[in-house]
Amino acid sequence: MRKDVLIIGGGATGAGIVRDLALRGVECALLEMGDYCHGASGGNHGLLHSGGRYVVTDPPSAMECAKENAILRRTAPFCIEGTDGLFVSLPGDDPSFADPFLKGCKGSGVPAEELTAKEALSAEPGLSAEALRCIAVQDGSIDPFALVQANVDSAREAGAMVRNHCRVTDMVLEGGMVVRVKALDRRSGEILTIVPEIVINAAGAWAPQVAAMAGCEVAMGLDQGSMLVVDGRLCGHVVNRLRPPSDGDITVPNHTATVLGTTSRPAASPEDVAPSRNDMELLLRETSAMLPALRHCRVVRAYGGVRPLPGRGGRGASRTFSLITDERAGNLLSVVGGKLTTYRLMAERVSDQVCNALGARAGCRTRTEPLGPPADEAGGSVALARLRRKYGFKATTVSLADQRMLCSCEQVLRAEAQMVLAGPDALTLSDVMRRTRAGMGYCQGLDCALSLQELMMEAGGTEPLASLTEFLEERERGQALASGDQLRQEVLRRHVLQGVYGLGERE
């Protein structure tokens, strides 16, 4: 199959690139080995950065975040909650950090405003009464799954070929150019061969491995970060610690949860994502200093991701991105670093370079072209009010004839899963979960897994049993640190799914 451009990796960066190029009329394809967001784009904090976090230590990144934040709020309003953010300092923190912070905000174009203690408490009643200084910024929360899917849908509509569950396995080089790329399609079990003009390596933490297929090197530090999902919204704003970036600094309210994060340690591989008990304790301790209610919260699960950072990685590494070429494979371009928040900008830069190389003159359209409508909360039930929020333009394709519930934690209709199953992307139960949120709530699939399985069997063409086991095991991994009510939940979940139905049982 001939394509002008092949993009490897379906995280936010790859999805952003394929959309950008497709909208410019470039014939392109994207292959992703897992589901979209299989990497860092799924294992992140979901914070739409205002830029505040980087104003002191990494101003170029802060500047990029501030600009992109404004663009995404405009173009992808459905998957963003404009909660706004607060940076607060507590006793023990250096109170004078607020001054370079405010100055940095000004210098980087990050809108910021200092609040009095009283104003801060009335804006965020759960805030610690000990908060010393408080600065309001324009942070938000973003649903990366919905964002990436919307990019994929838009790229397809513009003519791109986008496939998940297709792993790139080999590259054939001739005369210092990649001439053929081979991939294994999990759906059909077939080998796919693509003949590209240009190959873009957007494989995130796997970028060195993909580059190695073409005999190239990409230097990258891998850095693991952990997050905790707490049931319910324990803050109205994104709440950040006003201090130099450190661990356990940020709480992000999103959907029905509050996500606490993050931590930082060197990762051994892109798959080395597992959070530790220490991470969990640290995150609860640090974030509950800002929001005391977190001491009594219900931790639903812990998860992690691996940051692909330029150079050697770590907290100190810049969060901007770079484009890497290598003469050993002249038509391979690797994209490294960046943030979820800046994915569009990275895509724009990459696409500019690609169009240059191809001699195509079309300009970037993603700065203004909407990815989805604003969430409008219409409808006479919570499930209906959330359709646009989850599916953007596709919300209207959910059939409202049958309004039976599939997942009660997340108020997901059976019809939503049916819509997703009818589309080209859902192969496994987890694929349906990422799109509908069924199974993400506090019962972690107890309520919906079997009904979902039934719907998948009705839809046909998928791998129900294998993917049910995979789904249950994946949910179970997130429960390794469960305690309190969540542990009671997990005991019941295993009793029913393993004990009663004999599913996912292990030696």
């Binding site: 909650e81 049931d231 319910g232 919204r233 324990l234 959907h255 029905t256 209610a293 009594h296 919260c297 219900r298 909360e377 409808g379 006479g380 039930s381 919570v382 209906l384 009010a385 959330r386 929020r389 519930m405 009660s408 934690c409 108020q411 709530g441 506090y442 019962c443 107890l446 309520d447 309190g484 009510d485 009671r488 939940q489 019941l492």
Partner: protein
Amino acid sequence: MTDHGCIKCGSCLRACPVLSDPNGTGFPGPRTVGVDVPRFPERGRIGERALMCTMCHACEWACPSGLEITGAMLQLRAEVSPGLQLPGHLRMRENVRSFGRAVRTEFTGWREEGNRTLYFPGCIGLGPLAAMTTTASSLLTALGIEHDISSRAVCCGSPLLKVGALAEAKVLQHRNMETLAAYERVITSCPGCTYQLREVYGVRAEHMVEVLKAKDLRSKVRGKWALQLPCHLKRGLSPWSAEALVHVLTGAGVDIVRLPVEDRCCGGGGGMLAGFPATARSMAHNKADTYRAAGVEGVITACPFCALNLGREGLRVLDVSEAVHAEKMR
């Protein structure tokens, strides 16, 4: 309810009488309304069917995690009700605004004699069940409890809380507190009023069964009778209040048949009668069928809402005060 301990066991769903009624399947259910939906930023969009619940507390009793499901449901009702327009609820609120009671008053036997005890029959007892009030009042007199029935006492506010009209309920409370100040003792016939006066007003109100349980009484009825144990008596006030009803009747020599369904909700509470009359009717109808199949003369209860809702199904329904009389009268 953010640190809730729900484990998705489904016990609340199995216990809910609305969900198991063929006419109640539109109700999202106690777990959705009381546990799941309050976690959503979009919770205000839950829609009017969230109010399709009789506040019978069966879900809460069944919950192994001890969650205060009904309290959480009420909180959500208060949040969403202002945007809802159920005709029956609007009518009820309009009634309260224009004449202080949830339904039109048909009672005429006011007693305003400066007694130290106030008998507080409640809106239904002053409306469609005025005859019950007259009988109950005579029974109290026969028992030597001289009392007033004050025309100035208004709705206790419980029905308004059920439809989320908190501010309006507060106004009623203020009006009633002025009236109640003149009395030392308050006796009620409606467990909803009893609960409201006790738990919300902080007034030591006694329900009729609690007054009767220490008295010498005789049965006024013949044949076998079943019980309708009111939800708001058994699970609202306390299981001991429900036991008191059994005790009063057996003590008086009423031939009682105990049925497993006796403490299942009739469908009359929580604003259902006004808000979702078809569901309230269907629940009563199915329950009445069960009673009829048991071959009893009728049922005895201690709640005007139960009496009204079941009574419409052609079943003989008596309030406890209509089933007994004072020993010394004979």
